[in-house]
């Protein structure tokens, strides 16, 4: 009988084929056609963690053959798994890793790649994105579209910067930031829920409003009175005893500023709360079918309001990362569109906490790999290198993710009886 494939199968097949091709390609090209002449050095030690292997030096060509070898094997496994209609995620993942590594090994021939640093940098670039997407997640899971993430981040970055400057205390900056984020959320909630304004318009408008206000005040206050208004101190690194000494993982996860630890905590608790608690159940309910939630006695709009505020608090901490968390002084429009990338990450991650985090990390990694490669000197025009994270996202979204389904009631104001 004519073998026909479902769309899911098609995507699986596409994945397997692509990965196999890429594996063979990298094996041939990096390994034989134009192999790296020199040795590639991978560094693992970043700070003062325990040293298992400090550096791993390998002839580029050999390294490529090893890694591509791994990816080839993984590809074969993937094919078998596909044949047997089993999960292909794991082999494909391994293969991708292999290809990536052989590319790096090849590109860094005769150069030094600080692996741990590469990953740590990726995480740091992803931090504001993760905060942002978590804010979006909570709003949209409860049925309120949040395009105002950028505004939330920027406003709270501004406020925490100013407060920390005036008080000379990082902690006050960290405390003030969520309040600022919540303030933006309050506007979002009031207009979206009480006055049922279209939430897309609202989100955009709030962004414009915040950009305008911060630019305005930046000129009026932060520049002329810089020494008092814009000299925020920053949090130091907190090295968790023992943990921070674990090779590779230590520097990445356990030797960070408090803001990053807060992020871990938030992601963990959201993941738990959303799927395992009463709050989570009700939140998902009002995001999927508010009328149904209403009929079992849940005050839809009250919960939505509450959640939007919570989202603001979370984005607020993310905003603090820009100032007291890393940079210190506030810079005009310093969020540089992170709010929109975070939004993309949320959609890309299919409105699931873990998904969004991975999307954000992918973006951060692509971005950091890109600059690392320019640092060790690749002869690709810098403009194209700068495109890498965006292209990577597009490839991932079109190739792997495909059609996504938002919470059914996302963006629909809830009015009793009106809904039909």
């Amino acid at each position: 009988m004519s073998e026909i494939r479902s769309s899911v199968e098609k995507r699986r097949l596409r994945g397997v084929v692509v990965i196999t091709l890429l594996s063979s390609l990298s094996f041939l090209y990096f390994g034989f056609i134009s192999p790296g002449k020199n040795k590639t050095t991978f560094g693992f030690v970043l700070n003062n963690e325990w040293v298992l292997i400090k550096e791993w030096i390998i002839a580029s060509a050999t390294g490529v053959k090893i890694f591509s070898g791994i990816s080839l094997v993984a590809s074969v496994l993937a094919i078998l798994a596909y044949r047997k209609r089993r999960q292909i995620v794991f082999p494909v993942g391994v293969a991708t890793f292999g290809i990536l590594m052989s590319f790096i090994t090849w590109a860094a021939s005769g150069k030094f790649i600080p692996l741990t640093g590469l990953l740590q940098g990726a995480l740091l670039l992803a931090v504001p994105l993760i905060f942002g997407s978590m804010s979006g997640l909570i709003c949209e899971r409860s049925g309120v579209i949040n395009i105002a993430i950028e505004g939330q981040l920027l406003a709270s970055a501004f406020v925490s910067g100013v407060v920390a400057s005036l008080t000379h205390k990082t902690i006050w900056g960290l405390i003030a930031a969520p309040i600022a984020g919540a303030a933006i959320s309050f506007l979002l909630a009031t207009f979206a829920i009480k006055f049922s304004v279209d939430q897309v318009i609202l989100g955009f408008v709030l962004n414009v409003l915040v950009i305008g206000l911060t630019d305005f005040l930046y000129k009026k206050l932060l520049v002329p009175y810089q020494s008092t208004w814009n000299t925020a101190p920053t949090f130091g690194k907190i090295e968790l005893p023992v943990l921070s000494k674990i090779p590779v993982l230590g520097p990445i996860f356990f030797s960070q500023s408090i803001v990053v630890y807060i992020m871990f905590a938030i992601v963990a608790s959201i993941t738990f709360a959303l799927f395992k608690t009463k709050w989570g159940l009700r939140t998902r309910a009002i995001g999927e079918h508010p009328t149904a939630a209403d009929t079992v006695g849940i005050d839809v709009n009250k919960l939505r309001f509450k959640n939007v505020i919570i989202a603001g608090l979370i984005a607020g901490v993310g905003g603090a990362y820009y100032t007291v968390g890393s940079v210190g002084a506030f810079g005009k429009e310093m969020t540089a569109g992170a709010g929109f990338i975070a939004l993309a990450a949320l959609i890309f991650g299919k409105w699931s906490p873990i998904g969004a985090v991975f999307a954000a990390l992918l973006f951060g990694f692509a971005d950091n790999l890109q600059s690392t490669l320019t640092i060790i000197g690749v002869s690709i025009p810098s403009e194209f290198m700068l495109m890498v994270p965006y292209i990577a996202t597009i490839i991932a979204v079109t190739g792997l993710v495909g059609r996504v389904r938002a919470p059914a009631a996302d963006g629909v104001p809830y009015l009793r009886g009106g809904a039909h």
């Binding site: 899911v8 159940l281 009700r282 998902r284 309910a285 999927e288 149904a292 939630a293 209403d294």
Partner: protein, 504 residues
């Protein structure tokens, strides 16, 4: 527990949906409410349940006036409701749906689902339901979904249970089960308000019948009243309940399906190698319990499904793999299962909806521009021909009642040169008046020598219209029998028990 409504009035803008409605439900009584689409039944019930607020009037429970402004008030007053448009979260499991709003939590505020699970099993046992607490609701057949709604009401001990069109989506077996359940509840002392458009059911279970027309109570009668009388009371005119089917010779096979297999996005076959054909001038009914692949099969016939194997021959030409457009214009008329979702563009006017399929054909278009004049003129014609009730053809369809919405869909689909009419649940949720109309149209097509494939879970409908009946079960056609089969035989087939009788 008894429930009384006194002088309930509800208006939407200038429109009076409920007008001074008085109604009393005794303890342990099954009280049926009949009425056309848009008569105001759901509105009234939503008021009782606290989803809508009455402009005036009062509610009494056990002779005491109570104030219900929130569903939670109703719940705590012991009023439960199974809504016309289900109130379940599609992506939740059964258990999650049941605990929603009544959550119990363990340590770290973690949800306690287990208690719900066992409660569900218990109730299911008492009433002989088969419901898996961990099934995702959207994957369940509507029949089961509705049981979930009922189970919820029972678990939270409703003393007064409101059922708004519960049987609209049920099969005969399921309906009978439901009626049985209702009697059991009644025996346990639960009072039930039962809204339906099916007079047979009313006369079977109701103790008291109230009839509403245009928001007013127009009569309170006993179950002994004949179906004819009930119907005319509802609609305000005499209705012909049993369309007469003139016998005439059927023609050549016009549509032939060979080894048709349909797969869902995950690749599992939901329709498995089915074979059937329909002749010119006959109605082939595809009966079966909801969720046995009929919907997918119907959609597959016009290439709405993405993953189809086998062959669909219309007058000898292969349609499978062609575009939807091609199938429609090859001569298939398609009445989709959900008029709101698949049939109509809610925000479009009636006129615009009438040309959804033909907008780029003459006479509606010159070159690439639409000829508004023609569109309106044609619409006016159709509105008269199909008796579509509305102020103007420029009204948005979303403001029409279901019956009229359905008429718009039918009018559009029959405006193309038709060889075969594929109708999927064409009368779901419609009142007797509208049903009568739809049935007449379907038979008219048949008598005009076209093939009709009628997908229906309504046994009465199937019996009334079909020349031959194909019964689907678990994605396969168990048997194709002629219209002389009895309700019981058909019921058994639909339940998966293959018939001994050789197929016609």
């Amino acid at each position: 527990m008894s429930l009384e409504l006194r002088g309930i009035t509800k208006t939407f803008g200038s429109f009076i949906a409920n007008d001074e409605i008085n109604l009393r439900v005794e303890t342990g009584q099954i009280h049926a409410i009949l009425g056309e689409n848009g008569a105001g039944k759901s509105t009234l019930m939503n008021i009782v349940y606290g989803l809508l607020k009455a402009d005036s009037g009062e509610l009494l429970v056990d002779e005491k006036i109570i104030n219900i402004s929130e569903p939670s008030d109703a719940l705590s007053a012991g009023i439960g409701m199974v809504h016309q448009h289900f109130m379940l979260i599609p992506v939740f499991t059964v258990a999650e749906n049941i605990v929603l709003g009544h959550e119990k939590t363990g340590k770290f505020g973690a949800l306690d689902i287990e208690t719900a699970r066992s409660a569900i099993r218990e109730v299911s046992k008492d009433f002989g339901f088969e419901v898996d607490p961990d099934a995702i609701v959207e994957t369940l057949p509507v029949g089961i979904q509705q049981k979930v709604e009922i189970i919820r009401a029972l678990i939270y001990e409703a003393k007064v249970l409101i059922l708004d069109e519960p049987t609209a989506v049920l099969t005969p077996q399921e309906t009978d089960e439901l009626l049985k359940t209702m009697r059991e509840l009644k025996a346990k002392g639960t009072s039930i308000i039962f809204i339906t458009h099916k007079l047979r059911e009313v006369r079977e279970v109701a103790d008291q019948i109230t009839i509403i027309r245009r928001g007013k109570v127009v009569g309170a009668v006993s179950p002994q009243t004949s179906e004819g009388e009930l119907a005319s009371l509802m609609v305000g005119r005499t209705v012909d309940l049993a369309p007469e089917k003139i016998k005439h010779k059927v023609g050549e096979p016009i549509l032939v399906a060979k080894d048709l297999t349909v797969r869902d996005a995950l690749g599992n076959a939901v329709v498995k190698k089915v074979n059937f054909h329909v002749n010119e001038g006959e109605v082939l009914a595809v009966a079966g319990v909801q969720g046995n692949g009929q919907s997918e099969l119907a959609r597959a016939l016009i290439n709405l499904e993405d993953h189809v194997e086998g062959s669909i021959l219309l007058g000898g030409n292969e349609l499978r793999g062609k575009s939807i457009y091609a199938s429609l214009h090859a001569g298939i008329a398609f009445i989709p299962e959900s008029r709101e979702l698949d049939g109509l563009v809610g925000s479009f006017s009636i006129a615009e909806n009438l040309i959804l399929d033909l907008h780029d054909q003459a006479p509606y278009t010159k070159g690439i521009t639409l000829s508004a004049g023609v569109v309106l003129a044609e619409a006016e014609k159709k509105v008269k021909e199909f008796d579509i009730r509305s102020q103007s053809v420029s009204d948005a369809v979303s403001t029409l009642s279901g019956g009229n919405k359905q008429k718009v869909v039918i009018a559009r689909e029959l405006s193309r040169p038709v060889k075969v009419l594929v109708a999927s649940q064409p009368t779901r949720g419609l009142d007797v008046g509208s049903i009568e109309f739809v049935h007449e149209r379907i038979l008219a097509e048949r008598d005009a020598g076209r093939g009709v494939i009628l997908f229906s879970t309504e046994l009465d409908e199937v019996m009334a219209l079909a020349d031959r009946i194909a019964v689907m079960y678990r994605g396969e056609i168990l048997d194709i029998v002629d219209s002389k089969v009895t309700r019981e035989e058909l019921g058994l087939l639909m339940a998966g028990v293959a018939s001994k009788k050789a197929s016609a």
